[in-house]
Every structure is written in C-alpha cells, then in structure tokens.
C-alpha cells in the first residue's frame, strides 16, 4: 500500500512494522481477554467467589461448573433448544420473505413500488423503543400469545434491513437474463426460484448467518414475552441464572460460554461470510 512508503532503509521498515505489530497485538489481547477469561474460568471449580482467586492460567480442568449450570434448572437444555428453534425459524423466514420482497422491489414493475419501499425504509429510522410497548400489548394482550414460539418468532420473520440487503444485491443482476427467461416461458415465480435465488446465494448466505446470530443473541423481546422457564431462550435463562446465583463465578462463566459457544463455532467455520456481511450493507454498490 502506497500510504506507507516502502523505499526507506530496511532497518527502519522492520522497526516500523514491528511497532505496528506490537500495537495491534496489544489491542487484540485487550479485545480477546474477556472471552479468554470466560472460557478459562468456566473450567474451574464451581465454588463461591469469596473462596477463590481469579486465575489467568488454567490451573485445573473440570466440567463441574457446566454441570452446576445445567443442574440449576431442569429446563436448561430446553433453553438451548428454544433458542435454536427460534433463531432457525427466524433465519429461514427471513431468507424466504426478504429475498421475495427484494426481488419484487428490484426487478418487478408495479404501481406504488418506490413509495412502498420508501415507507419500509422509514422503519429503520424509528427507534426500537417506540414500537416496543404497543408491540408488547399487541402480542401479549391482543393476540394472547405469551409463552409461545409464535410470540418469539412472528414479529421478526422479515426485517426491513434484510429486504434492503436483498434488493441492493438483486439490482445488480442484469435484467436481460430475466427477460430472456420470460421469453422462454418462465413465469415470475420460476424466474425467482430458478434464476434469482441461485444467483443470490452469497448474499442470502450472509443474510442467513447474520439473522441467525442476531436472533440467537437477542434478549429483550424473549424476556418480555416469556414468563415460564420452559419457554425462555438461552439468553434469558442465562440472565435468570446470573440473578439467582450472584456469587457462583465458575458456573456463571460456564453459562456465558454455553450461550456464546454456538456463535463462536459458527463464526470460526463461516468466518468469510461474517466478515463479508459487515461490509455488504455498508459500502454502497
């Protein structure tokens, strides 16, 4: 990169690169420390915090803290299952409905298209707090859906952000391909399934992963619409565990690790999509 001069003498260049490396490494360590601390501590004994010293080196390896966490409630595995069901459904619904809407908004001509899209975009400006109370009243009082998967899933089945993402990407698909498919006798639904979906695979994968992650990590909505332990998600369960066991350090870390572990696994196996996903919405095409 030409921002940095590479013509200087080698000794200076090496010391410069070393300085950069050290700076980045220090910051990386500070960033990773909480996660490292969490994982290391989760393998410690499930004793109360007063009786222990924090250690930064894995002195011993035991899964007792994990056992302690899972023994806290008979629903602790159910929390993980609930999170999986909710995040999985939200992900599938978003990919299907956002890609359909994105296709319509980018490639189909119909009356009111631009107005409707602009109206949708306005939603991104509205703070979460505005819709929170009426949404709660609607779902819990009007629909009477408290403690159901429906309450956890339905409000999130298609987000405006995902529609926007799909539309942005699909706009770049050449319309000529679609026209020729139409001449060959495809209807719009066939064009959507046979052309648009395969061509949008990457962006839909990014969308699926980010949606799954967000849904898995979401906390407030599940907190609001569930009041029985068996319908809670892992995030709400972890919060309950924390308030019930304020001094049990190891088990708390084990719970935190359990809540984050699926995302870490997903991140390390699909890293490319995660990192791509960050820029896909931000850098305009």
């Amino acid at each position: 990169m030409a921002l940095y001069k590479n013509t200087g003498n080698p000794a200076r260049r090496i010391s410069r690169n070393a300085a950069i490396g050290v700076l980045l490494l220090i910051f990386a360590l500070a960033t990773l420390f909480p996660i490292y601390f969490m994982v290391i501590s989760s393998f410690g004994d499930p004793v109360e915090a007063g009786a222990m010293n924090y250690t930064l080196w894995p002195g011993k390896f035991t899964l007792d803290s994990y056992k302690f966490f899972f023994n806290y409630s008979k629903y602790s595995f159910r929390w993980l299952l609930n999170s999986l069901v909710v995040a999985g459904s939200v992900m599938v619904f978003n990919v299907v409905f956002a890609s359909m809407a994105g296709f319509a908004f980018s490639k189909l001509r119909f009356r009111g298209r631009n107005v409707l899209f602009a109206v949708l975009l306005c939603a991104m400006m509205i703070p979460y707090q505005v819709t929170q109370v009426p949404l709660y009243i609607l779902v819990v009082n009007t629909f009477d859906m408290e403690n159901t998967y429906g309450a956890l899933i339905l409000p999130g089945i298609v987000t405006v952000y995902n529609i926007f993402l799909a539309k942005q990407f699909m706009s770049s698909i050449p319309s000529e391909i679609l026209e020729s498919a139409k001449i060959d006798g495809c209807n719009q639904f066939q064009i959507y399934t046979k052309l648009i979906l395969p061509l949008s695979k990457t962006v839909l994968a990014v969308m699926a992963i980010l949606t799954f992650m967000e849904s898995w990590n979401t906390f407030f909505w599940p907190l609001l619409v569930t009041n029985s332990m068996e319908m809670q998600t892992i995030q709400v369960g972890l919060k309950n565990f924390r308030f019930a066991n304020t001094t049990y350090f190891g088990p708390m870390m084990a719970g935190a690790t359990i809540a984050a572990l699926p995302m870490f696994i997903l991140f390390f196996s699909l890293q490319r999509y995660f990192l791509e996903g960050v820029t896909v919405g931000a850098v305009k095409g």
Partner: protein, 300 residues
C-alpha cells in the same frame, strides 16, 4: 425497449403488478402489523393514561410530565455523555486500527479482522456476565489487579457514580469496534493508489497523506458510521440494564432504560410511549443535522 408498441408495455406492467404484490405480501403484512400499527398505536397511547380495560385520554400530560421530570433530563444527559464518549472516540480507535492493519499481508489482515470482530459474535448477556466479573469491586477483581499493578487504588467500578459510566464506556471500546474496523479497512483498500503517488511526488509526509487524502476519501464511510453509531447509541440500554440497573443513583440510567423501566417496571405505558416518541424526534433531528453539516460534499 423504446421501439416496443405502447400496448405491449402496458400489458407487461399489469402482469408484473399481481406478481409484485404477491411477492411483497408477507413483508407488507408483517410491516403493517408489527411496525406501522405499533407506531400509530404509540402516538395514541402517548396521549392516554393507559389501562388494560379502557384507557383515558389525557392530552399532552404525559409529555408535560416528562419534560418536568428531572430523571428524564438526567437520563438524556447520560445518553449524550455515553454517546460522545463511545461514538467519536470509538471511531477514532477503529480508524487508527484500520490504518495500522492496512500495510499487513492479506492473511494477517483477515486474522486481525476476525479477532477484533469476535466479541460482536457473543451475545450482550454473555459479555455483560463476563465484564461484571472483570469489574469485581474486591481487590482480587481483574481490573482492580491491573490498577494495583500500576500503583492505583481499589475502585468500586460499577457501584460508584464516578466510575460506573466510564466502566460501561470502556466495555464498549473493547467489544464493539470490530464492525467499524472492517468497514474502514474496506474503504481504505478502495482508495486509488494514484493519489498517494501524486502526494509522494510532492514529498508529502505520512500524516499529510492521512490528512489530505485518507480522511477526505473516507468521509462518506465516516458519516455512515457516525450516523448509525449515534442512532444506535441513543437507544442503548442493554448493558446498563444488565450490569448496573441504571444505578448507582441513576448515574447510568439512559433514555432507553428509563423508557423500559417506565413501561415494564411501573407499567406507565403512556409516559413510556411519549418518551419514546421524544427520543425518536431527537434521533431524527440529530441525523438531519449530521447530514446537513457533514454530508455537504458527500454523494449518495
């Protein structure tokens, strides 16, 4: 396309129409039910004393009460302090890191990007649980040990008014810059080399290149991150809710948390709705100002 007879075009339009509406039907229903209706409902509730059976209309009272409520102003001030400390400083950190990553080899770039992004993958609840222990007020607490190492004295991080807000800010600095770094880096890689070459010919120094080339070229990126950062920061309340509960003495109560408490702790739905709409107006206002002053020569 231009030569096509007008009648054919018309028929095609009509054909698309039904398909178009069919394809956006679900999105529109979801939007109407879970966004548009709640927003409209929030307006109505904000003028009511809400009761599950038969709310009463009380005019502007909820708004008037909010503006007279010293806690509202305190929470607004807290929100502004938090935003100023996290967004501009956070962007400066992200920008500097992205500049430092830039000369590295591709493999190292990706590695650092992944490391810095990792905390964003963990949930807010997970991070808050971990940071709660880092901020353990006992001398054995991790951060207190660090402070001792540098000769400082024991702090009650989250429990004292003086340090509670700073503790939330520090946590934000160390766990939420990954996204901005990646976006900045992508933008940095998009700057044309010829600018730097021209600057080299003029004998520009590294800092001059940063100031005269990099910063102007990245202005749209900065604006984007700034606006989205501030919009996000004004709504923040999860960390405060989970780590301090807004305390001590409401030192970390932000507007988002105040609204949440009014709604789901005291069940004052009317006041919560009024405050949320005030928040919406503030956020919209700030965004407009930013676009006006910062976005002058930015094209969209």
């Amino acid at each position: 396309m231009n030569q096509l007879p007008i009648t054919v075009k018309k028929r095609k339009n009509r054909g698309d129409g039904a398909w178009g509406y069919a394809f956006i039907a679900v999105a529109l229903v979801v939007y109407a039910l879970f966004t548009a209706y709640p927003v409209a409902s929030a307006f109505i509730i904000s003028f009511q004393k809400y009761k599950p059976l038969g709310s009463t209309f009380i005019g502007w009272e909820n708004y008037a009460e909010t503006f007279q409520d010293s806690l509202f102003w305190k929470s607004l001030r807290n929100t502004v302090v938090y935003t100023v400390l996290t967004v501009p400083v956070g962007l400066l950190i992200s920008f500097s890191i992205a500049i430092l990553i830039l000369p590295l080899k591709k493999f190292l770039q990706t590695t650092f990007k992944a490391i810095y992004y990792l905390p964003a993958v963990a949930s807010g609840v997970t991070l808050s649980v971990v940071w709660l222990w880092i901020y353990d007020p006992l001398p054995a607490g991790i951060l207190n040990q660090v402070v001792h190492f540098f000769g400082g004295s024991n702090q009650n991080w989250l429990g004292a008014s003086a340090t509670a807000m700073f503790s939330l800010v520090l946590m934000s600095w160390l766990s939420s810059h990954g996204t901005a770094i990646i976006i900045y880096l992508a933008a940095l890689l998009g700057i044309d080399d010829s600018y730097y070459e021209a600057a080299d010919l003029d004998g520009a120094t590294f800092l001059q290149k940063i100031w005269h080339i990099v910063i102007p070229c990245l202005k749209p990126t900065t604006l984007f991150l700034f606006v989205t950062g501030i919009i996000g920061s004004f709504q923040v309340f999860q960390n405060a809710f989970l780590m301090t509960g807004g305390g001590p003495d409401n030192a970390t109560t932000m507007v988002g948390l105040l609204i949440f408490n009014n709604a789901f702790k005291y069940f004052e739905f009317g006041e919560a709705a009024a405050q949320s709409l005030i928040l919406a107006v503030i956020i919209a206002g700030i965004s407009l100002i930013q676009f006006k002053f910062l976005g002058k020569d930015v094209e969209y």
